[in-house]
């Protein structure tokens, strides 16, 4: 046990504060202390008190009392192994304290790293009610202004169709769907995309491609009812509030990692819209019943859509629930719902589609 002497610092009772360098060795149950500038001492193991001390408990304090008073040895943990092997019981208490400090440090660091993530997760979970509350406080005037801005951008991006049979058909179907107190605007964009969207302030925008794909006015009515439901539920406004809120929170918690904020906001939008689309489907369906329009046009259009989007992204990543999924839900709702009297929509649909293709080519050079 006494092969390599252990370096230590010896603080004799009543000695100088800076202590003296010493060497330690373990011999037959006693600790042999060899200070550099004083005679050697032997300390009985029974008299020794050991505790972990110093920065991060990285040092061991070996103390004993003799005729001169309290004697102290400080040994670095790096050199303590031979002594600990010789008398493990002496070091058990200090070792426990060291372990506890290390564990707490690890847990603390984990906590500090996890805290912002936890806050973020909490925010994610509570964002729906939060956004709803905020939206409830937004006056309709501001909503209208946002809608006007969205419409202006749409106008800047593509030509609008402001007359002709297609435009008229959209107005007629829209009017039938609107309730008396509602002020809704319907716009038609001359673009081949199969798309339609609702903007804050009662604005519904339909793309020409959608009309081209619809086989009847009832199908268009299904899409419009869905979009009007978005307006009614103030979905686009909620989405705006949510993505703005998410961006701010992410930036506040994680610093200015622009990409990360955008990513989180998109994730929020994704989840948001999947739920919102289902809600709008059902609300739209109720509206179709209310307007005495044959609701089967809605699922029929989704069928067309499902055919055209075969081989697209899986449901998880798309903003709309997969059309087949929606289709099933809708058909179930139609089967379960009450069937009131149905009145056909007074629009010559084949003329509308024909007019669309001719009006688009005719008006192309002159407009906007």
């Amino acid at each position: 046990m006494s092969d390599a002497p252990i370096p230590a610092r010896f603080y004799p009772a009543g000695g100088a504060a800076h202590g003296h360098p010493a060497r330690l060795a373990w011999q037959d149950g006693t600790l042999l202390v060899l200070p550099e500038d004083s005679p050697p001492q032997r300390v009985d193991i029974a008299a020794l008190q050991v505790e972990a001390r110093g920065f991060n408990h990285s040092q061991w304090a070996l103390q004993w009392n003799d005729a001169d008073g309290n004697q102290l040895l400080m040994v670095d943990d790096a050199h303590i192994a031979p002594l600990r092997d010789a008398a493990p019981a002496l070091f058990a208490g200090g070792h426990q304290i060291r372990q506890r400090t290390h564990r707490r440090f690890g847990a603390g660091i984990l906590f500090l790293i996890a805290l912002p993530l936890l806050l973020l997760a909490g925010f994610f979970l509570s964002i729906d009610p939060l956004a709803e509350r905020v939206v409830a406080h937004i006056p309709s005037g501001i909503e209208r202004q946002i809608g006007a801005a969205v419409l202006a951008r749409t106008r800047a991006e593509g030509r609008m169709i402001d007359s002709g049979p297609a435009w008229e058909a959209v107005q007629i179907v829209g009017k039938r769907l609107a309730r008396p107190a509602e002020s809704l605007e319907f716009h038609l964009v001359d673009k081949p995309d199969i798309n339609a969207f609702a903007a804050p302030g009662g604005i519904v925008v339909v793309y020409a491609g959608l009309i081209d794909k619809s086989a009847s006015a009832e199908e268009l009515a299904g899409v419009l009812a869905h979009e009007i439901a978005h307006v009614e539920l103030r979905h686009s406004l909620k989405q705006l509030v949510k993505s703005a809120g998410l961006r701010v929170i992410v930036a506040a918690l994680l610093g200015d990692y622009g990409g990360l904020g955008g990513w989180a906001a998109q994730l929020g939008e994704l989840k948001f819209s999947r739920d919102a689309e289902r809600e709008a489907d059902l609300r739209g369906l109720a509206r179709l019943h209310e307007a005495h329009i044959d609701p089967s046009g809605m699922p029929r259009f989704f069928e067309t859509l499902a055919k055209s989007e075969a081989g697209r992204m899986p449901a998880l990543f798309s903003t709309h629930p997969a059309t087949t999924e929606r289709l099933d839900a809708l058909q179930k709702a139609i089967a379960a719902g009450n069937r009131g009297p149905v009145e056909p929509i007074d629009v010559n649909w084949s003329a509308v589609r024909k007019g669309l293709s001719t009006s688009a080519s005719e008006t192309a050079p002159g407009r906007r």
Binding site: P7, R9, Y11, A17, H18, G19, P21, R53, G54, F55, N56, S58, Q59, N70, L72, M74, D76, T101, H102, R104, F105, G108, I109
Partner: protein, 266 residues
């Protein structure tokens, strides 16, 4: 040990620099960006990591550099070799007002824990490491953060801190309460902890914050009288751009302005 023995001389009063004399073949390491001048014959070599000899291979070097990245030091250390035939000198300047203190690591047991950023220069062979403050409370409120620097070896190291540096030897069990942020360096045998200031009134209006740092002996400690952050705060407070009472124009009203009536710090 492969330590180089260096002679040195410290110049200046409050804005100091240290001139290190290197025998032929000797070398010193310096924090990147602190070299002030060097004589002919001294070769500057920038190495990845911290210049200690213990770490072998690329991975060891990467670890050393990673440690420096965490402490906020630059990834590269500069080594100054004397390739000439006679004694040559190189000088390292402190980056802000304060004192440079030489610490002979061999006399204090080979290890010194110090505030990050306080390392200035050392004999080649001194290893620069990091020491995590593992007491969460001390890391949060002790004023030194969770990451401190550890100097290992038995050569000479120069540390630097703001204001006047006080060196004190604490006897076993002797405790000193220190304002947080004033601790510069201590031996590992010193217990670094925090203590609640005790009274709400003192904590709020005493100007010392909620906690004191406590240092318990045995061991040597070094304290700074003016942490850089404190000086920086005062400079910002006094600057005109920050809405402080900067008035170098010396107008008639300047001396008796509202600011001086209210006893604003300047």
């Amino acid at each position: 040990m492969a330590m180089d023995v260096v002679d040195y001389e410290i110049f200046g009063n409050e804005m100091q620099y240290v001139e290190v004399e290197l025998d032929p073949g000797e070398a010193a390491i310096g924090e990147a960006g602190v070299m002030m001048y060097m004589q002919d014959g001294i070769q500057m070599d920038t190495i990845f990591g911290d210049g200690s000899q213990q770490q072998g291979g690329f991975f060891g070097k990467l670890m050393g550099a990673g440690k420096r990245l965490i402490t906020g030091e630059s990834l590269f250390t500069t080594v100054y070799h004397n390739e000439g035939s006679g004694k040559r000198r190189v000088a390292f300047a402190a980056p802000y007002p304060g004192k440079i203190v030489p610490v002979d690591l061999s006399t204090i047991g080979g290890t010194l824990i110090c505030q990050k950023d306080s390392f200035l220069a050392a004999a080649k062979g001194v290893s620069l490491g990091i020491a995590f403050q593992k007491k969460i409370g001390v890391g949060l409120f002790g004023g030194e953060g969770f990451i401190m620097q550890k100097l290992d070896g038995d050569g000479l190291a120069f540390i630097h801190a703001g204001g006047t540096l006080m060196e004190k030897t604490l006897a076993p069990g002797e405790t000193l309460r220190v304002d947080t942020g004033c601790v510069v360096a201590f031996q590992p045998s010193v217990d670094f902890d925090i203590q609640y200031a005790g009274k709400i009134k003192t904590a709020l209006f005493g100007g010392e914050g909620l906690f004191f740092a406590t240092l318990t002996g045995p061991g040597k400690i070094w304290l700074q009288s003016l942490p850089l952050s404190r000086m920086a705060d005062r400079i910002v407070m006094a600057s005109r751009a920050a809405g402080g009472g900067g008035k170098e124009g010396g107008s008639v009203l300047g001396g008796i302005g509202l600011g001086s009536l209210l006893g604003r710090d300047e």
